[in-house]
């Protein structure tokens, strides 16, 4: 019993845990938290440590001395908003299953769950908008517009972009490099957005922001008296999604 108690205590010595939270977490979408259990003991491994994070558990059978092990926990949160991890509970029945030794690691991790993305009628807004405003060619590569130059065919290039004339001339398959089209920036005004239900509205706007970002459409947002000028950077997207996530929270 004495030895069991002693080993159980020693097992938890110099144990640290780190949590890696992904940048983008969306409500009702599964995501993974990465846990790194670090054993800083010089001579002995850490055995059989079970961690409990936000009610989910993962077992680390062994962490070698001066080493670490990685574990993943998948989560899915139903609602948008701010969440925090204040503690991680570690417990172990090592060595004899006589006692459960527990240990609480204080943490101060905050993260934001972005709104659930819901494809809404407004998602056709982009196409509709494009037609209204007309295309604008850019020097960015794409498959949308005028050829910029011709290059050798690479596996995977769509057949419709093969420049048959040039291919016939050179005897080699050639592909047309076209310019991508850019769209007129979209500015979404949260207050005047046409969906009434707040959550539905937030989900729809989040979808528009995300899909616009994928297409390279510059998006801006007016919300809660703040104005996010249109842009296409990832940080810009995250800032807007944060604003949506924390709306009325």
């Amino acid at each position: 019993m004495i030895i069991s108690g002693y080993l159980s205590r020693a097992n938890f010595a110099k144990i640290h845990i780190e949590v890696e939270v992904p940048d983008e977490i969306y409500a009702n979408s599964e995501f993974v938290l990465k846990l790194r259990l670090i054993n800083k003991k010089r001579f002995i491994p850490a055995f059989l440590i079970r961690t409990n994070l936000l009610g989910k558990e993962i077992l680390f059978p062994i962490v070698q001395r001066n080493n670490f092990e990685i574990g993943y926990l998948s989560f899915q949160f139903p609602r948008r908003g701010k969440l925090s991890i204040e503690q991680i509970l570690l417990c172990s029945v090592f060595p004899f299953n006589f006692f459960v030794k527990g240990c609480e690691m204080k943490k101060d991790i905050e993260f934001i769950v972005f709104p659930q993305m819901k494809k809404c009628v407004h998602s056709s807004y982009l196409e509709h908008d494009k037609k209204l405003t007309g295309d604008r060619s850019t020097m960015r590569h794409g498959f949308d517009s005028e050829p910029i130059f011709i290059r050798d065919y690479v596996d995977g290039d769509p057949l419709k972009y093969i420049h048959w004339k040039a291919s016939a001339k050179t005897g080699k398959l050639k592909t047309k490099e076209l310019s991508s089209q850019s769209y007129k920036p979209i500015i979404i005004d949260f207050e005047s957005f046409w969906i009434k239900d707040t959550e539905e509205k937030i989900s729809c706007i989040a979808y528009i922001i995300n899909s616009s970002f994928k297409k390279g459409v510059s998006v801006g947002l007016k919300i809660n008296g703040e104005f996010y000028k249109d842009g296409i950077s990832r940080q810009h997207k995250i800032n807007m999604l944060k604003a949506l996530a924390l709306y009325e929270k």
């Binding site: 004495i2 030895i3 002693y6 080993l7 002995i44 491994p45 055995f47 059989l48 079970r50 409990n52 936000l54 009610g55 989910k56 558990e57 077992l59 059978p61 062994i62 070698q64 139903p78 509970l89 417990c91 029945v93 090592f94 060595p95 004899f96 299953n97 459960v100 030794k101 527990g102 609480e104």
Partner: protein, 641 residues
Amino acid sequence: MKNSPNTIKIESLVRFLSYAIGILGFISIFRNIGITYSVFFASLFAFSIYFDIRQKNPLPRWALNIFSFVFVVIAFMRFTMDDPVKPVVETLLILLAIKFLEKKFIRDYMQIYLISVLLLAGSALLSLNIGFAVYLLIMMFLLSIAIVSLTYYSEDKDLILKADTIKSLILKSTIIPAMAIPITVILFIILPRTSYPLLNFLNRETAVTGFTDSVRLGGISDIQIDETIIMRIKIKEIAPEKLYWRGIVLDFFDGISWRNSGSEISSITETLDIKGQKIGYTVYLEPSYNKYLFFLDKPHIRYPIKLTAFDDLTYTLRENLNRRIRYDAESVISEVLPERDISKDKYLQLPKIRFENIMAKVKEITENKDEQSSAEAILKFLKYGDYKYSVKNLPITTKPLEDFLFNYKYGNCEYFASAMTLMLRMRGIPARIVGGYKGGYYNAMGKYYAIPQKNAHVWVEAYFEKKGWFRFDPTPSVAADYSPLLTGFSKLRIILDTINFHWNAFILNYDFRKQMSLLNKIRINIQRPQFDFAYAKERTVQNVPFLIGFCLIVAFGYFFILKRKTYEEKIMAQFLSMMKKKGYEKDKCEGLEEFAHKIEADEIRVKAITFIQIFESHFYRDKKLTRQDYHRLKLMLKNLC
């Protein structure tokens, strides 16, 4: 995860280790049991390995339990006190084989380990040799690895570990016996065999003189300032004036010292007819380097330890006492020892030196008085006269008694007792000196008397015709405090002395050699059992009430102790059962919160999450649920309905 060549499933490791432990248990007793049992075990063991590999269970658990029960009953019928070990070991072996046949859960593996250890212990009882030490060592290492592996298994039954992890696990598990063996050796082997007290610093490192065959006047005065504890007596508290611890009788006086002229070895076979309070007790006597044992005056029975009993109710060991011993005794608290025939000459002996002054004094005191009144008068003269008690500057002269009586007028108990004995004898009353200890302080915490050396005391016994020996204590009682009140630092000493006492008692009660010789005797007497049906039937009938009692105790233990669920287990079982009724069943590998979040009905989900959060706030902080917590959670469950 696929089980690649470099990985091992934890279940396989646990199984393998249990086979190894079972085989080790079997090997340890193989030579001492009947061949039938060995063959039976080996066959069942082989079957169980086969079925384990095929992942099948040949018989349901209940059937195997019935078999086990039948074997236990058979063992019970064969059990006799003359041959207790072998049937038990053989039955354990069969139970082990049956255990291997079962579908094994964690508790079954634990039972396999336990039975194997019991088999190994049984082997020590059947034949103790060096092989046992080897088996024990291997068993300790195997058990450590097995229990650690079983802990892994209990956490995740499907866990697959890399060979390196297993290696590390095995290596680190060996630390446990490596730590346990030295501690075990210190606690259970070395210490109980040493007579050295744990708290030796309590006792002063002085050579104990104590009583010898002769006591020179003034000779025990050194002892009388020595606070070393000479003995401790486990006994209920008695009035202090009744505490005379009898050890030695001195009958011959040469004018300066008293000695024992040779007491008669006791010829009394029956108990003496002494009237008074009868009391039993246990004495823990420190090494005194003499042969005398001490008993509460008057010892009543003859004792089973090797000693010589004398007619004067004293007892000696055959050799000087150089180690701590314990003995049980019984005494009758009485001032009178009825004895009819004594050698009067022996107890009327006077030294060759004439003590004219003393003689004259005796005449003066006892003139016209009968024997008993004379004795009372002498006692009064010494005890309540002009004489003072002292242990310092004693009259150690050529005529110490005369100097004591007429010049110094102070002395210790030896002077008072010697003077009275001499005066009684001068008056013609047979008298003798009894030496021992008086009083002692009662340790209420440990419920024992501690007698320090300084309580060494001598008193007088005078013989009156047809009445017997009467005790007289002429030493002024106010002078010598034999039952001191203890305060302050002494109280701490009492606590430490209590610990010391219990430790000594533990060691002295732990007579390994005696146990081993008894067991050896049992072993020699063991005969090959012959099954006598009629005898077995008779014994069974006789033992049915005991068997029923035994079964009831086992059942009680199983249901009320082993099966008793903790508050955590109870409340969680209730919660899960309630959820199940509502159509939500928790998956085995599912976390509680994860489970709760899946509940569709909003109200139930919210309540369930709150319940789980409160439960987990206790469980994962290693806090036990109190009765109040349990009832609070139970109330929450009621609201969930």
